[in-house]
Amino acid sequence: KHEPLLSEKDTSTVEISGKDESPLPDDLTRDYLTLPSLSEPELARHYTRLSQMNWSIDSGPYPLGSCTMKYNPKFTEDVAADPNAAIHPDRSARSAQGNLGLLHGLQEYLATIGGMDAVTLQPPAGAAGEFTGILIAKAYHEHHGNDRSEVIIPASAHGTNFATAAMAGYDVVELPSDEGGRVDLEALKAAVSDETAALMLTNPNTVGLFERDIVEIAETVHDVGGLLYYDGANLNALLGRGRPGDMGFDIMHYNVHKTFATPHGGGGPGAGPVGVVDDLAAFLPTPRVRETDDGDYERFEPAQSIGKVHGFAGNWLVVVKAYAYIARLGDAGLSDASAKAVLNANYLAEQLEMDVPYGPFHHEFAATAGDRDAADIAKRMLDFGVHPPTTKWPEMVPEAMLTEPTEIESRRTLDTLAEAFNNAYSDTDEAIETAPSRTTAGRIDQVDAARNPRLSWQALDE
């Protein structure tokens, strides 16, 4: 189970400068180029083998908390591959009615699902959506002559929230959780001020708890002139049961590669559309798409647009797949997806021998490994043929194993998963510390890899 690097198989060097037939003078070209040089059959085998050394949702359960790894329906791939949709983003609107129609359709779907008034599909990822949302908040405040300096974020929030607020130039005010694991309302009231640009909130939060005080939270933030931002990472818990717009959120992003089942591609691409309420629609990125009276589609620039957050129109192929997925499910399917995601999480938690602090949780839960090392237990789970949950996060749960099975797992698979959890949890210290043993690679020395970074095949020769 070892596949040599492409460079170790066959590499060749082409001389460029000095070539007789070069279309450019030598001083405008590089001297030579060295790259792997292999036949199509060799490449097919190389990448086929690499793929076989990779876990995926089509391999088995993938219960990474906060990642919502659900099955990616195959037909959405075929829809996205339609050659008629493969057009240049600078096309005139009149010649691109198909693509504009799709964008408009998905804007509408997402608006109604989130209870928002206007949506942009441009942000190419969830974090880019957060950034877009915070830029909109900033532009809104500035437009109203009301510069603010702070963004409030609960301690349990995703790391991207903090990084996003900082990138946008805000000071981050971290909010502690209350005993129940939710936003501490008193702490929030103490934290808000006329410097509060926004509160960024994930609901249900990262241990699956719905913020029951959401109406009061919204009032608290709105009372000081702040905006309420909804992190869409956990929207899969709420589909058809509650809409951020109805809860008082002003801005939200959607993670289509989570909630709407577009494939995650080993790290991306995703898409992070952003929805806003009416008051903020004028600040959305440009261009947006609207329908004309005669049923055509046109691009337009919102009046106070923040400009662009992607060079073109975002991750087109991804938004097409999201549209197809939503159309497939419809109302009943969307509501059922949430229902089964929550049922699966609750059922799985019930089968575990580990404690699950906090509740009632929804689509995910953070079991605690107590005095054992959550990361070691996760490594041992690999030996049982499943992917382990997110470990050691969120920090409010000691040795957390944040678990989100999603709606796609059958009871049978959940039972298998529970067995893997329980077997690993009850295994000996030695067994978990030396795990995994049945995987392509054994436990990897992360500290050494970071201390002595070798980031290319060139570095291996040194």
Partner: protein, 442 residues
């Protein structure tokens, strides 16, 4: 297919659901939701569920509403022929449906593929560090500016960019650097290329980063990049060069002209035209290693001392470092990077250089043919060109693009009397038709 009134992708039979509810100790699914009534929703979005077959038909009809045009368009989004191999291999479910490699022991395959992608970028740029993807060229440029701000030892707040920088790219850059208090300023161009004298006058201690592109957005090939590199050294600014994978294979090596960071479009390989979907290059020198945004795959060893790949230097990242992270980027374009790597590998160095040389030859040949038509002057810049060039028109450019579109061709109108035309091997068969259409429209 399991018979269900709900999600077709949830496998629960009614009996299983009942048994699971029982096991959890509730009566209905609704009992599992802890949502106050005042914010609960009734589930009525008004979205009709459709069958797979119905949706495929519906979307085929929708996309058929796009006019069938042969596109001679570029300006940052280019289309090269993508071998079938790329689709077939990258579509393998183990790649496409996998998550970020947080458990490297069972994701060695994707990690190795990304490591190979990084290594190819190292070959192409001459810089020793490349990350395993940014969203696109625009966000990569913006992140480069933020890196420059972090690494620069003296104060300063200006990012110098070409006055012809594509508007969308500039807007993204401005949005990204705003929070860091940086400002974006233009330097003039001289016949399509950098006006190096003017740049010398503008650059100074205020300059955090100088950005240049090769080829430029107008397709011209830069001639004095080393001078810009020296200027950046002199002013202690970061020199950031924008390019793309095909151009990099032929034009001056960034490291050899003193570039500190290379950004640009890697999606020119591996992705077909995708309405602007991209893949951003980010490569830099060792000294900026710990300031790099995004993910890095490194080599380490496992307990048996065998080579193993892993995400590394994660302490730069937001899930560890929160507001002190080098970037908020998390989900990236890994799968597109995989595709680009397969495409590069399938071309090999010979194929890649041949392709790049054709980008020079074919643009020159088409410009000459357009220039021969009464009413057009092409190229307007007296430079070597790569893939694309600008045309001056006697008639209004917008009227010409409309006429040409009616004949089945899409080109850019970039100013009242300026067109831009881009060609690659995907359109080179159609140049006769374009020339005829331009002639008609003149």
């Amino acid at each position: 297919m399991t018979d269900t009134d709900g999600s077709p992708f949830a496998p629960h039979t009614a009996e299983e659901t009942a048994a699971m509810l029982d096991s959890v100790g509730v009566d209905t699914e609704a009992d599992l939701f802890d949502i106050p009534d005042e914010v609960a929703f009734d589930g009525n979005f008004g979205i009709e569920p459709r069958s797979e077959q119905a949706i495929r038909g519906e979307m085929q009809r929708l996309f058929a509403r796009n006019d069938d045009l042969t596109e001679f368009m570029g300006r940052g989004h280019y289309s090269h022929y993508v071998p079938s191999l790329v689709d077939h291999l990258s579509d393998r479910a183990e790649f496409l449906t996998s998550y970020t490699q947080y458990q490297p022991e069972i994701t060695q395959g994707f990690l190795q593929a990304l490591f190979e992608y990084q290594s190819m970028l190292v070959e192409l740029t001459g810089l020793p560090v490349a990350n395993c993807s940014m969203y696109d060229g625009a966000t990569a440029l913006a992140e480069a500016a933020l890196l420059a701000d972090r690494v620069r030892e003296t104060s300063g707040q200006t990012i110098l960019v070409p006055e012809l920088l594509r508007e969308g790219k500039r807007s993204v850059l401005e949005n990204y650097v705003d929070g860091a208090g940086l400002s974006v300023e233009s330097y003039p161009m001289d016949d399509g290329n950098v006006d190096r004298e003017a740049l010398v006058d503008l650059a100074g201690e205020e300059t955090v980063m100088i950005y240049a592109e090769n080829p430029t957005v107008r397709g011209t090939i830069e001639e004095g990049l080393s001078e810009i590199g020296e200027l950046a050294t002199d002013t202690e600014a970061v020199f950031c060069l924008g390019s793309d994978l095909v151009a990099l294979s032929l034009l001056e090596e960034p490291a050899s002209v003193g570039a500190d960071v290379v950004v640009g479009e890697a999606d020119v390989l591996g992705l077909p035209t995708s309405y602007g979907m991209g893949l951003g290059i980010f490569a830099t020198s060792d000294r900026f290693l710990r300031q790099v945004p995004g993910r890095l795959v490194g080599v380490g060893s496992d307990v048996d001392k065998r080579r193993a790949y892993t995400l590394t230097l994660q302490t730069r990242e937001q899930h560890i470092r929160k507001e002190r992270a080098t970037s908020n980027i998390c989900t990236n374009q890994a799968w597109v990077a995989l595709r680009a790597a397969i495409h590069i590998a399938s071309l090999g160095p010979d194929g890649l250089v041949d392709l790049a040389e054709d980008c020079v030859r074919d643009a020159a040949a088409l410009a000459e043919r357009v220039d021969d038509i009464e009413g057009y002057q092409a190229p307007i810049h007296d430079r070597h060109h790569f893939r694309e060039f600008v045309v001056h028109t006697d008639q209004p450019a917008a009227a010409i693009t409309a006429d040409v579109e009616a004949e089945g061709y899409a080109i850019h109108a970039i100013e009242d009397h300026l067109l831009q035309i881009c060609l690659t091997e995907t359109t080179s068969h159609a140049t006769d038709g374009l020339v005829d259409a331009l002639q008609e429209a003149a």
